[in-house]
Symmetry: none
Subunit: 197 residues, 4 copies
């Protein structure tokens, strides 16, 4: 009966989800470096084999686990300053805490092992395309120079925020200053706020 369905036991979505959840839990508790596949499997109530059947390595597993966590897409909008602000705020919220360190570790590991792998990099900027659209729209409207280097703009705010997180420096007011700098060329000044006069 029902000859189309392959026979035997099917891939269990529960196991899959349990493994990802366990990965996130272990990441939060002990961090990327002390995470072990055995620990994750035990926590998920699952055999090690099952983990290795679906993910080739620890990094792939972690990548998917935190990737699932980061899928907070920023809302679309029309105002350049507001949109950039929203994008950065989302990013800060996503990366504040363990994920930032995990991503750094992942990045370092993958850079060594697979020179051209864009995996971890993609995570830092799941919505890079969307932000590029925002910037190009702004350039078309004249809010930015027509030949603006969107790539560099993206890297400036991404790199800066990531670096502040990595160094555990405060991030209050940073978004506003970055928006001012990138949109209007306002050199950042001390003080928590640099809003327009």
């Amino acid at each position: 009966m029902d000859p189309g369905r392959p026979r035997g036991r099917q891939r269990s979505p529960e196991s899959h989800r349990a493994i990802l959840a366990a990965t996130r839990a272990v990441l939060d508790e002990v961090g990327y470096f002390r995470l072990t596949v055995e620990g994750v499997a035990a926590r998920a109530g699952v055999g090690k084999t099952t983990v290795y059947r679906w993910w080739p390595s620890k990094s792939a597993l972690v990548l998917e686990a935190i990737g699932a966590d980061l899928t907070k897409p920023p809302p679309p909008s029309g105002d350049l300053r507001a949109d950039l602000h929203a994008v950065m705020t989302t990013m800060l919220e996503d990366l504040r805490g363990p994920p930032a360190a995990t991503l750094l570790a992942l990045g370092g590991e993958m850079l060594h092992e697979t020179p051209a792998d864009a995996g971890p990099v993609a995570l830092f900027q799941a919505d890079r395309g969307a932000v590029e659209d925002i910037l190009e729209d702004a350039a078309r409207r004249g809010d930015l120079p027509p030949d603006v280097d969107t790539d560099l703009l993206l890297d400036i705010y991404t790199g800066t925020l990531l670096y502040r997180l990595l160094c555990r420096r405060p991030t209050e007011g940073v978004i506003e200053k970055l928006v001012g700098l990138l949109v209007e060329g306002e050199i950042p000044r001390s003080g928590p706020e640099t809003g327009p006069a």
Copy 2:
């Protein structure tokens, strides 16, 4: 008449140097994650004990090893744009290649293990103080606003360059654009050069 000197056999500078050199060599060849203390010791022709006697962990060892490599201080000067350019150039040269990935990995590991450790962070910016001086001098001369947020300026160029390296994106022209942005508020435009006319 020097009661401070300890009595026994003294620490061997050759071993010390051999270990750091071996660490750098292994880092270059296999990267931070596949570096093993045993491998370093064997390469240095040294007992594992000797490594562990002076460095408590793999990360401490690597930190010192690449730290010794990064001690390229930028030259002092008086022209803001030229000075910033020199600082960034030095940084790019120092970090291009394996060290960048190693630092990322180190950063990720240390963030997890010792929440407040500024060790790896300090490496990204061995001369942070010197650059702050440059910026403050410029502010006094009027080349920058008097209340310029030097901290953020530093993080912007450091984070951006580091991120470009991490993502393996090209860095040509980036320094010039960053200088223009941070000193004059010039929004970066496409094209290899955006120097003033």
Copy 3:
């Protein structure tokens, strides 16, 4: 319908056998004190983990390895002198050579570590019960006093033979003299043989 059997992969009998064989080989070559678990594992083509999984310590491993070698049970019989002679001959053959020294070392080590462990002791006399039966039968038949101290008789010949081996003194004729002493009370005299006319 056999709920007792564990689920996972089963203990590999080949590894088990290879480890014991390697242990015996290493013992013969370098002796108990220079035997290392690493060496045994390498020789057996086995991971160190597998050795430690089944034997808690070097001494336990060696104990089982030579125990497997000593399982030469003497044949049962009816004549007291002949039976004792056979028992002692078996023992001498078993212990001549490396095993004696190994057992001594094991005994010394275990005495220190586990005060009441009868392990190595049992090895000197794998068939102590059988010999006790022989002596008790003889007592019942009147060939020995009815209240003969079988325990001490056993210890006398075991201790004496072991000690001769340990001191590397010759053992020719000793068995005959011991039999004569223990069965008939004949004080041992010089000369290779003291058998009855």
Copy 4:
């Protein structure tokens, strides 16, 4: 003039004594196998070098340390039974406790390493010559057969007592039974005492 005396600083008897005392203390506490030269040196308040300067190995050190402890010579006498009794009693007292296990370990180790070394063996029987004299005197007086195998007699009681100690079996009454057996050919019987009627 006295060209024989060396010039420099002389061997320090305090260190020497402190090392032997520390060796005995460590032996009592942790046993032969867990004794380390470093531990002994630290306990003695002495550099490792000083230990190695005077003793080539752990076993040589231990040998001398317990040898110094065993120098309880049995008293001479004229009555065969009484003399044998005294000899065995002394031996039991000397070996009861840690020394027995240490000697076993030493014996095992030395047998493997230096096939013909009589060192540890000599310890079991510091006074073997004296006992041989006793037995030969008895043979001359007619208390033993004229061609008595003194060597075997010595080994019987030495081996038996040592083995009882090694197996931690009780030794009460054993000396009396051994004396009866070896002097009069009395087969040992159960019960703590088998004294003459």
